[in-house]
Symmetry: C2
Subunit: 232 residues, 2 copies
């Protein structure tokens, strides 16, 4: 019996990489989808390519979409990436790195590709626990997208079913680290930092680095990522 296909949103960070490994562990033939969306650096796309190679994913599409046309985020605009946010503040407000409707745009493209492939399963590494500041990482958002997706497509008309899987939605960063390691992932492949140095070393101070470091610390595991020397 041929494997069922699934479209997996893959940024090359630890969450989406773990999600891709989970999709494979559930028996899916993973089709990875990445975006060149005007992010500050191309390192995460290089990480996505490394992950695709290491996991043996056979199809990987990288789409160009220019979210800079609208502006509005520290990840795509000229405002600085926030650094050294106190742990208790992370996730309390919508951060400057929030890209308006980004997950909706990414999931919409995933839906389009899934429909072309005849795939009913889409995976996203959204995580509500450590990123509750992003409105489009909450479980009620994922459910609402799934409901809309089932009305948007042939599946909805012809009796099929689209499922949006967000297997990390309720996990802590610690649990994501442990889950990824249990699946044999090498997190050295992944790129998490919002503002890495030109040589690829992570800053260790943006919200994404702080959450990643906290996850590894709480898991009692050394983070294999390379950090800038001053912070090592």
């Amino acid at each position: 019996m041929p494997q069922s296909k699934a479209v997996v949103l893959l940024s090359g960070g630890m969450d989406s990489t773990t999600t891709a490994a989970i999709a494979q562990s559930r028996g899916f033939d993973v089709h990875a989808l990445s975006f060149r969306y005007g992010q500050r650096h191309a390192l995460e796309l290089e990480a996505a390519r490394r992950v695709v190679e290491r996991l043996g994913i056979r199809r990987h599409v990288t789409l160009d979409i220019d979210l800079r046309a609208f502006g509005g985020s520290a990840l795509t605009g000229d405002t600085p990436v926030p650094k050294d946010t106190p742990a208790e503040r992370i996730g309390q407000d919508i951060p400057a790195t929030y890209v308006p409707a980004r997950n909706t745009i990414f999931l919409s493209f995933a839906l389009s590709w899934a429909e072309v492939l005849g795939a009913g399963d889409i995976f996203i590494g959204a995580n509500a626990l450590d990123y509750s500041g992003y409105p489009d990482c909450r479980p009620e958002y994922i459910s609402a997208f799934e409901r809309m997706a089932n009305l948007a497509t042939r599946a909805g008309v012809e009796g099929g079913r689209v499922i949006i899987h967000a297997p990390l939605i309720a996990l802590s960063k610690r649990d994501i680290v442990l889950q990824g390691l249990a699946l044999g992932l090498d997190f050295e492949l992944t790129s998490t930092c919002y503002d890495p140095a030109p040589d690829g070393a992570a800053c260790g101070r943006c919200d994404a680095c702080l959450l990643r470091l906290k996850g590894f610390r709480e898991a009692g595991i050394a983070d294999p990522a390379r950090y800038q020397a001053a912070l090592a």
Copy 2:
């Protein structure tokens, strides 16, 4: 008092042009959004530019997104555009010109721009009556997108409200013609045909032409569009 901003999806066809005029008639400062998405021809983007100029719309963004990366539609791929569909068959099946999840992708970008602009209103010219073959033109789809959009964005978190307006959703093509004329539109500006000649003349035989011609005929008005000589 400054006008409220609205994002209007504008393809340059008669439906989206009428929708833009309706948004203006309701007092909105229209921000028009078009896409270069791998469609067969650029004529509809030229039509969108003419409409923007004639309606005095001050901001118009055209985004490049390559839906051809996925294939799957006669509008973006190599399969032929169907011609001479009998009137009673149009809208009965999902047609070959359906682009998977296209409206979802377009509305997602509109949502992103609206959020950056601080706009709570998005207009789309979806029309269920004469295009019921497209799953993403049905009222229940539009409602589900709106519900998702309110969870996806700051508005949902901070108590704002996103409204997806589909003012043509229940209108016949005849009523759209009459509504557009009542708003002073010159439909000669608009481009509807899925498969026009190199000189821009409409084919008169694709589903979009057939529905447009039917609308004008039922309204008792001559269609000002230019059709290929053999069919005139």
